[in-house]
C-alpha cells in the first residue's frame, strides 16, 4: 500500500493576468520507506508538487492522500497540525530560525506538539548525535556552516518522527562535497529513522541514490523509475 497517493492533481498560478499551469493531471504513488526523487528542469513543477504533497498549498483539482488522510478535506489549522505530526521539511536555504540555537531549532517542533521535556531532551540529543552536531548544540545558525545548518534542518525535520520528509533542492546551496555528505546523511537517516523522503533535485548523484526517480517536464510526469526491493537493499 502506498504511503502517498497523488491523483490527477492540477495547479495553475495566476501571475498578473497570465495563467501559468504548474502541474497538469499529475498522478503518483510514493512507496513507504523509500527515497523518492523528483527531477526535471527548472519550472517543470517539482517544487509545486512538493508544496502540494506537504499541504503547504491546495491543488485546483485532484486529490492527495497521505497515509489514508485526504489533505484536501482538512481545514487550515488541521493541515498545520497534520504537517507538524506527519511531515518534515528541509529547505534549499535551510530556513532555520535565526534566534534559536541548533538545539532549540530541533526542539521547536517538539514544543509545538507539547512533548514532555524529558522525552524532548532525549530526542533532540539523539538527533544531534545522528547528524554529528552534538558539539554545536548551542551554536546559533549564523555560527554554523552551510552543511551544518542543513544537518540541523534535517534533524528538525525528523524531530516529530514524521512518516514523510520533503526536501526541496536540499543540496542546491552547498558545495558538491558537502552536498554529497548531506545526501549520504539523508539516506542514512531515512533508513535509521524508518521514514520516507521525497525531494526535488536535478543533481545526478542524488538521482543515483534514489529508490524511485520521477521525471517531470512542463508540469507533467514523463517517467517513473523504480528500483526493485533487491536493488534497494543493496
Amino acid at each position: 500500500m502506498p504511503l502517498l497517493t497523488v491523483t490527477n492533481v492540477s495547479k495553475t498560478y495566476h501571475l498578473d493576468r497570465v495563467e501559468v499551469s504548474a502541474l497538469s493531471e499529475v498522478s503518483l504513488e510514493v512507496r513507504p520507506l523509500c527515497f523518492t526523487v523528483l527531477s526535471g528542469a527548472s519550472g517543470s513543477g517539482k517544487t509545486t508538487l512538493l508544496n502540494l504533497i506537504g499541504g503547504l498549498d491546495r491543488p485546483d483539482k485532484g486529490e492527495i492522500v497521505l497515509n489514508g488522510s485526504p489533505l484536501g478535506m482538512l481545514s487550515d489549522d488541521a493541515r498545520s497540525d497534520f504537517r507538524l505530526r506527519h511531515i518534515g521539511f528541509v529547505f534549499q536555504n535551510f530556513n532555520l530560525l535565526p534566534v534559536l540555537n541548533a538545539y532549540e531549532n530541533i526542539e521547536y517542533p517538539l514544543r509545538l506538539t507539547r512533548t514532555r521535556p524529558s522525552v524532548r531532551t532525549r530526542r533532540v540529543r539523539d538527533l544531534l548525535e545522528a547528524v554529528g552536531l552534538t558539539g554545536h548544540a548551542r551554536h546559533l545558525p549564523g555560527q554554523l556552516s552551510g552543511g551544518q545548518r542543513q544537518r540541523v534542518a534535517i534533524a528538525r525535520a525528523l524531530a516529530t518522527s514524521p512518516q514523510l520528509v520533503l526536501a526541496d533542492e536540499p543540496t542546491a546551496n552547498l558545495d558538491s562535497h558537502t552536498g554529497d555528505a548531506i545526501i549520504g546523511l539523508m539516506r542514512a537517516m531515512q533508513r535509521d529513522f524508518q521514514t520516507s523522503f521525497v525531494f526535488s533535485s536535478h543533481d545526478p548523484k542524488v538521482l543515483a541514490e534514489a529508490d524511485d526517480a520521477v521525471l517531470l517536464r512542463d508540469g507533467r510526469i514523463v517517467s517513473i523509475t523504480r528500483k526493485s526491493e533487491a536493488e534497494q537493499s543493496r
Binding site: 503547504l56 487550515d76 504537517r83 507538524l84 529547505f91 530560525l97
Partner: protein, 469 residues
Amino acid sequence: MNTLSLAFRNLLRNRRRSFATLLAMVIGGVCILLFGGYVHNITFGLQTGYVRGGGHLQLQHRDYFLFGSADPTAYGIADYQQVIDVVKHDPVLAPMLTVVTPALQFGGIGGNFAAGASLTVMASGEVMEDQNAMQTWNDYGFPDAPETMALTGTSVDSIVIGTGVARLLQLCTALKVADCPAPPARAPGDGAPMPRDVGLLVAGDAAHDGAAAQDAASQGTTELELLAATISGAPNVARLKVIKAEAQGVKAFDDAYIGMHLAQAQRLLYGSATPEVTSIVLQLHHTSQIAAATARLRELLATSLRDRPLAVYDFGTLNPYYGQTIALFNAIFGFIALLIGAIVLFTVSNTMNAAVVERTVEIGTLRAIGLRRGGIRALFVAEGLLLGTLGAIAGVLVAVALAALINHSGLTWTPPGRVNPIGLHVRVWGETRLLLGTAITLTLVAVVSAWWPARRAARLEVVEALRHV
C-alpha cells in the same frame, strides 16, 4: 521556547529599531505622565486654595446662592449658632469636620473722605481664629507654610482691602502698596471760566483735602468709611481702620474686596438687632468626604433642622471657575494623551510591519513546520506586548526621575487666580491611578498596534511566504 521568549529574542534581533520604538514609547509615556502630574498639581492646588478660603461645604439660605448678593440680609441664617451646634455635635459629621465657621458677605460703598474717592465694594466678615485654622488644611502635602490672616489679633474695626481698592481710594501711600500709581490729574473743563469767589473756595477745599490725606498717610494707618444698607433698609456707615492691602489675583475682585471681622460686619448690617450670617462654612478632613457629609447634612436639614430654609453647596458649585479650570486642563491632557497615543500606535505598528516584511520567509517556515495562524498572530502580538510593557515601565521610571528633578529644580510659576509665584511641582510619584493608567494604556496601545501586522502575518499564504525574497 515559549511564545514570549521567542518574541523577546526577535525584538533583540533588530536592537536599533526596537530601541527607537521603545524610545518613542518612553518619550510619549514621560510626556503624558509629566503633564498629568502637572495637571494633578493644578487641581490639588486650586482645590486647596478654595478649601482653605471657603471650606468644602457651605450651608446657605436655599435662595442665597442665586439671589443673595443683591440683598444678603434678606437671605440670612437666623440663630446660626444653633445650626453650628447641631452640625458640630452630630455623631456622623463630627469625625469628618475640621472647622465650622460662620461668614457674612455683603455689598456696600467704600469711601476715602479725605481723598474724595468712593467705590462699590464687596465685604466679607469672618471669624479670624477659624479662618486661621482653615488655612492649615493641607491634604495634598503642599510645601508652603499656612498663612496667618492679617486681621488676626486686631481690633474689631480693622479691615484688609484689595490692592485695587487701595489704588481706587488713594490709600496706597499710607499702606505702602508697591506699583500703585496715583490717578491722573483731571483736565480743566471746556465751560465758561469759574467765578473768582467760587474758584477760591474750591482751591481752599482741595488744599484742605490734600492736607487731610497727607495727614492720614503720615499716621501709618488709614481709615475707610463703609456704607451699607441695614436689615431695615436704612443706610449705616462705619469708619474702619485699614491695616493692610492684599492683592487678590482676579482684578475685578481686587478692586472690590474688603475683609473684616464678623462682629464688625454684623454690627454694620444688623445694628442692635439679632445678628445673622449668610453662610456656615464647613471644612472637612478630606475632600473625598464631601459626598458623605453632604448626605448627612441633607438628613439633618430634613429632620432636626427641618424648619430652616437651608441648602448645602460644595465648593465646586460655589466656585464654577474651579470646575471650568479642571475641565480645561483635563481636556488638554486628554488631547495630548490622544496625540501621543496615536504617535505610539503608528510607531509600534510601523516597527511590527517592518518585522513582518523582514521575517516573511521565517513566517512561512514556522507555518510549514506546523505553527497555526493563531500561533503566528500570538507571536507578533507578544512582541507588541513586550514592547509596550518595557516602554511603559521605562516611561514610568524616567517620568518619576524627571519629576523629582523638576520638583527640586526651584522652578516657579503663577497659577491662574493667584498673585505670587509658587514652586513648580509635578505630581507623578504616588499618583497610582495616573501611573497605572498611563502604563496600561501604553501597553494596550502597543498591543493594538501590533495586532494588525500580526493579523497580516498570520494570513500570509505559506507558499508565498516561503517564496518571499
